[in-house]
């Protein structure tokens, strides 16, 4: 027997001992890795599994989850939609698309996904929590009667480094905001969304209505205060202590003479 034949037979024998893994096995293992936080390994397995079996919904679902973890939302959306093309009532895919719509600010687009998920699977607490949250949301009113009078910013005692001062209603109707028109729009949208989601979270935890919030970014802090559907926010330098920032915000609240 020549060396080439010997090597070929040996290689053939070795590979014959290793059975190829089924797609289902790969997906199961990928999901285990996902639970362990081993996302990179999970992603490799999912890609391999989908190459072998491209029409298994759970493979695309896991693929979508990992795209969300890696903040690849367009790819996640495509994978969730692929799941629905294989299983039109898949609750997790519907829920995933609802959450993406929500973070895109598309409230009207979010609702049907949640409704469909709960219609077919009433025992779905995550979807119910979001459904209850968005049910109370409304688009900004054209002319909401404001409890805040004309804002005279010249009288405001703005602390050093303060910017992005914003006063808005909880429905997204802006009363006043600093900056360009685009900046005002972004600020209002973000402030309203944070207020709404944080309020729902506090309520779900049984803690009551949101009063104050502090958001720390790596370069600055955002302070917010709310009462009766009015939200006041301001960005301050990152070095400021929470207590001091809230005192500054309280002064602004008083200066604006907000009556909720």
């Amino acid at each position: 027997m020549g060396i080439a034949t010997f090597l070929e037979r040996t290689w053939s024998g070795l590979t014959g001992l290793v059975k190829p893994r089924s797609a289902a096995t790969m997906f199961r293992l990928a999901d285990q890795y996902r639970h362990e936080g081993r996302y990179e390994e999970a992603a490799d397995l999912i890609a391999e599994g989908l190459r072998v079996a491209p029409n298994i919904a759970v493979g695309h679902l896991l693929d979508a989850y990992l795209h969300v973890v890696f903040r690849e939302m367009p790819a996640a959306k495509t994978s969730f939609r692929r799941v629905l093309s294989l299983d039109p009532y898949h609750p997790r895919a519907l829920f995933g698309l609802a959450r993406i719509a929500l973070e895109e600010g598309d409230i009207e687009g979010c609702r049907p996904f949640l409704d469909r998920a709960i219609q077919y699977f009433p025992d779905f607490p995550e979807a119910k929590a979001l459904q209850e949250m968005v049910a109370t949301w409304s688009a900004p009113a054209v002319a909401t009667p404001s409890s805040v009078g004309a804002v005279n910013t010249e009288r405001l005692r703005l602390p050093p480094g303060a910017h992005d001062l914003i006063l808005t209603h909880a429905d997204g109707t802006m009363v006043f905001a600093q900056g360009s028109e685009d900046r005002q729009r972004q600020l209002t949208l973000h402030m309203t969304q944070v207020y709404r989601i944080a309020s729902a979270t506090l309520a779900r935890a049984g803690l009551g209505a949101l009063r104050r919030g502090v958001v720390e970014g790596s370069s600055e802090m955002m302070f917010m205060r709310s009462d009766g559907g009015i939200i006041l926010g301001v960005a301050l330098p990152r070095e400021i202590e929470v207590g001091a920032g809230l005192v500054q915000l309280g002064r602004l609240w008083t200066d604006l003479n907000i009556k909720s």
Partner: protein, 147 residues
Amino acid sequence: MADSQTPADSSAPRDAGGAVPRPSRAQAFRETLFELIRLDGVRGGLIVTPDGLVITSELPPRFPVEALAALAATLGRELELGATRLDRGAFRTALFSADDGTVFVGGSPVGYVTLVADRNVNVEVVRAALGRAVDRLRGTWRTAGAA
């Protein structure tokens, strides 16, 4: 619970996954949360990934874990996106106080640490500890990414 069924059970609303051992990063997540919930005034907490998977949770029995996780993941994403859109640097921590308590959120690439605390909790102490925890979680992400 959120992770009670296998991925093959594609028609169930539950998340994919089963009861599996969670070494490595998952162990770091658990240890991180345990340290935080030992702080005075902290009632419990959870770590949830951006896709809503509860990695670990230590909440009193009456707390609706799945609902809280869904809201925490949604809140974490909004805080993350807002910080980026408004050029405020990467989102690190947040706190939201109400009449009967405070919710803390810490952001990291692996997910969001959410703590539920009493009304009179020492905010600065918890925020500082949460900041350290977030840094540690970022470390686990970088370590694995480099491997």
